[in-house]
């Protein structure tokens, strides 16, 4: 029974070709490049507004040196939010449910912030491992704890996104299969399940957008610490 439920997360292949590549192309195909006219159409204006206000919000706490990360953070945000929300359509595959993809983004980007911090200001970067005002006997253990928390960041970043989206999709599948199987025998229970499904879908839309935002926000925080 469990194996049957998790089958939706199997990376799809067709005649040996991985179809995840097509799923990953979706953000590129859905956003046409803006044209150089002064006044663009509504879709372009909306995109422009979104990217502009997102970058403004994300980069304002970061000092000027970190502003070169603007393109990367904006691209990551658009990429993740598109993949997450598209995955909520029936019969679509969500690449961000794959731990491999989320770790593939989390680990290199986190490592980049850490390496930047250690190269530019190693004392300052090491200073993050000991909070100010710690009583002396607690210093060794606190350094160990802070180092562990530093090393666990990429794992947490990747697993958070994977787990949230996987759990959401799993719940939707469970509740919808319950509603479907109960449809003829116990219609009231089935209609309650359909109501639950509606609320769940609304929650999942919110979660999809929030989790993409949290991923990028945490990366910007790690950048802020190290720049």
């Amino acid at each position: 029974m469990t194996m049957n439920l998790f089958n939706q997360f199997l990376s799809p292949t067709f005649l040996g070709l991985p179809l995840i590549a097509i799923a990953l192309m979706a953000p590129c195909l859905l956003y046409p490049s803006p044209a150089p006219w002064w006044q663009s159409n509504r879709w372009m204006t909306l995109q422009n507004w979104f990217i502009g206000s997102f970058i403004k919000q994300t980069l304002s706490p970061i000092n000027t040196k970190g502003h070169s990360w603007a393109l990367l953070l904006a691209t990551l945000m658009v990429f993740l939010i598109t993949l997450n929300t598209l995955g909520l359509l029936p019969y679509t595959f969500t690449p961000t449910t794959q731990l491999s993809l989320n770790m593939a983004f989390a680990v290199p980007l986190w490592l980049a912030t850490v390496i930047m911090g250690f190269r530019n200001s190693p004392t300052h970067a090491l200073g993050h491992l000991l909070p100010e005002g710690t009583p002396t006997p607690l210093v060794p253990i606190l350094i160990i704890i802070e180092s562990i928390s530093l090393l666990i960041r990429p794992l947490a970043l990747g697993v958070r996104l994977t787990a949230n989206l996987t759990a959401g999709h799993l719940l939707i599948q469970l509740v919808s299969s319950a509603a479907f199987s109960l449809l003829l025998s116990q219609t009231t229970a089935a209609s309650l399940a359909v109501g639950l499904l509606l609320l769940l879908t609304i929650l999942e839309i919110a979660v999809a957008m929030i989790q993409a935002y949290v991923f990028v926000l945490l990366l910007s925080l790690y950048l802020q610490e190290n720049v």
Binding site: S11, P18, C28, S33, G52, S68, A70, L76, P95
Partner: protein, 55 residues
């Protein structure tokens, strides 16, 4: 859990980074954020356009 199957991990990494580095940035870069039009009576136009920083 099929997500823990190590077989497509490297392929997924390569594909996702390829798309993330090669295909998405040009689309985002072409978005420009020009000056907002100021009124005629403004003595000093506020120069607040922003470009994708590279330094």
């Amino acid at each position: 859990m099929p997500q823990l199957n190590p077989a497509p991990w490297f392929l997924i990494l390569v594909f996702s980074w390829l798309i993330f580095l090669a295909l998405m940035p040009p689309k985002i870069l072409t978005h420009q954020f020009p000056h907002e039009p100021s009124t005629l009576t403004a003595h000093k136009p506020k120069a607040n356009s922003w470009t994708w920083a590279w330094q």
